[in-house]
């Protein structure tokens, strides 16, 4: 078995060793259904799709994904197990990747458990299942990007609460990057090229186009690169901070 799989399996198993994981999943399912049915006017819209669900998902992720990522490395540093892990014959990259994949799989499990919604729309009407599938894929990719950012921030501090708050802020900025709230802050002084660059970093813009069913390679690539970049940054931060 490869080192990444071994680290990933151990990590994923540790999530389910305590009730926290189950509580998390329940909260996720309750909130996502509540958003979909009540705030999203699921029935009143009279349309068979999961648009209400997927448009609230980024906001739900904004708080729930940092709750998963906050302990990724802070916990290892606080308990000293980081010293054990990084003196086993694995590379830093394998450790970072293994732990990230475990968290990503966990979010994936929570997301997959929303399948009753998908069944419901098929029961009520005749949705475009291709679009829904693309939206699920996009949602999972987006959660990976959130997680990778969280992994890097969690590597920088032993304090999980600090890690949580900083991750929420960082993800909020990235989600909002395409909105006037963020762009106006730059527009007054930054050149237009930079403002455009920031706008193109927006999670929502890329997620929105995937969840319309348009699987554009550039949108996929955006999330994959985002994940790669932040995991690389995680490895660097861990190396810098592991001593203290």
């Amino acid at each position: 078995m490869s080192a990444i799989t071994t680290v990933c399996k151990r990590e994923l198993r540790s999530y389910f060793a305590t009730p926290v994981a189950y509580v998390f999943i329940v909260i996720f399912l309750v909130l996502s259904s509540a958003f979909t049915f009540y705030l999203g006017n699921f029935y009143e819209r009279g349309q068979a799709d999961l648009l209400p669900f997927f448009s609230f998902l980024p906001w739900l992720y904004l708080f729930l994904v940092p709750a998963v990522s906050m302990r990724l490395w802070s916990e290892e540093r606080k308990s000293g197990t980081i010293e054990l892990l990084l003196t086993l014959p694995i590379t830093m990259w394998q450790a970072v990747m293994g732990k990230f994949l475990a968290a990503w799989a966990f979010i994936g499990i929570a997301l997959a458990l929303t399948f009753p919604l998908w069944i419901t729309v098929n029961y009520l009407g005749d949705p475009d299942n291709g679009v829904i599938f693309a939206s699920y894929l996009g949602a999972w990719l987006m959660s990976g990007a959130f997680l990778a950012i969280g992994s890097c921030i969690s590597a920088a501090t032993r304090n999980q609460v600090v890690a949580f708050i900083l991750t929420v802020v960082a993800c909020f900025v990235l989600v909002m990057a395409g909105f006037p709230l963020v762009l106006d802050a730059f527009r007054s002084w930054a050149p237009q090229a930079l403002v455009d660059a920031i706008a193109s970093l927006s999670f929502l813009t890329h997620f929105a186009s995937i969840s319309k069913g348009v699987i554009d390679l550039r949108d996929l690539l955006y999330f994959v690169l985002m994940i790669g970049f932040w995991l690389y940054a995680s490895a660097i931060v861990i190396d810098l901070k592991k001593a203290d």
Binding site: M1, A3, T6, V7, R10, R13, S14, A17, T18, S79, G80, T81, E83, L84, L86, T87, L88, P89, I90, T91, K242, A243, D244
Partner: protein, 312 residues
């Protein structure tokens, strides 16, 4: 084999390890002694591949810890200070994880597992989550993890810290039993341990090596080495008699129990002469003993002498 060359580590402005060089061969157990903050753990972290040295180099079994980290980590078993482990896992799961990461082949797996569990007496707690174990058992789990793959090199950072006397004895017996074909470094600030397990001792303070010798050689540096202690019915007469012995350099009387200690001049032996003079004068002694060296005294002299020098 472990080899370090002018190994150094700075944390910002603080020099934690200041150019340490030594070589340990298979079959040797090197005791790493030094006061708290001496740089013992930092040195071990560098050899185990956790921290990168800021100067110098370290090799285990010929593998440089910086340029061939994976090969080096494969041959090392490491017990970090405080024996950290994943608390929510059971002992069996935890050791299984270590076996997976270390790629112990299927046919060796149960043999290695049984050996480590047996040596550390973990049979009774295999299914228990590690966080529910006592401190002594947690330490043993850490040790089991370190020896699971039967490594050529063992690095143990304070393996007996916080254990009760029986547990300490068990750990020392374990180290002795494994010493024959392995290269072992043990850090400690418990001096009695040095005699019990180490074939060689390095004393470090402020990141520098102050002494590198066998425990016996270190003891020979003690003022008490070859001194003679006695308690006599007539302390005054006994003291007077001892002062007649030519090779006695100094005599001290313990104010509390009246025990007299005669220190020899450097390199001299006084036991027989003391015996003779006591007999000649018919001095009744209740107890007469030849002293060995006192390691704690040597340790204090070496480490504090250097501290005072540094202050001056």
């Amino acid at each position: 084999m472990i080899e370090t060359h002018a190994l150094g580590k700075r944390y910002g402005d603080l020099v934690a390890v200041d150019g340490i060089s030594f070589k340990v061969e298979p079959g040797q157990v090197l005791g790493f002694l030094g006061p708290n903050g001496a740089g013992k753990s930092t040195t071990m972290k560098m050899i185990a591949g956790f921290l990168a040295p800021t100067s110098g180099s370290a090799k285990v079994c010929g593998f440089d810890v910086e340029t061939q980290p994976i090969e080096a980590k494969r041959v090392v078993g490491y017990l970090p200070e405080g024996a950290p482990s994943y608390g929510e896992m059971s002992v069996r799961q935890f050791l299984g994880f270590i076996a997976d990461v270390r790629n112990i082949p299927g046919n060796m797996r149960s043999k290695r597992f049984d050996d480590a569990v047996g040596r550390l007496n973990l049979e009774g707690v295999l299914e228990q989550p590690i966080e529910t174990l006592s401190k002594g058992f947690k330490r043993r789990v850490g040790l089991a993890q370190a020896i699971l793959h039967d490594p050529k090199v063992l690095i143990l950072d304070e393996p007996t810290d916080g254990l009760d006397p029986n547990q300490k004895h068990e750990v020392r017996t374990l180290i002795n039993a494994m010493a024959r074909d392995k290269t072992i470094i043990v850090s400690t600030h418990v001096l009695e341990e040095v005699h019990a397990v180490c074939s060689r001792a390095i004393i470090i303070a402020k990141g520098r090596v102050l002494a590198d010798a066998t425990p016996a050689e270190l003891e020979a540096r003690s003022r008490y080495y070859q001194a003679v202690s006695l308690t006599a019915a007539d302390t005054k007469a006994a003291k007077e008699a001892l002062s007649r012995v030519a090779d006695v350099a100094a005599i001290e009387v313990d104010a509390q129990d009246g025990r007299i200690t005669a220190f020899p001049k450097p390199g001299k032996q006084i036991f027989i002469a003391v015996n003779q003079v006591l007999q000649e004068r018919n001095i009744v002694v209740r107890e007469l003993a030849l002293e060995g060296g006192r390691l704690d005294e040597v340790f204090r002299t070496i480490t504090q002498g250097r501290a005072q020098e540094a202050q001056a």
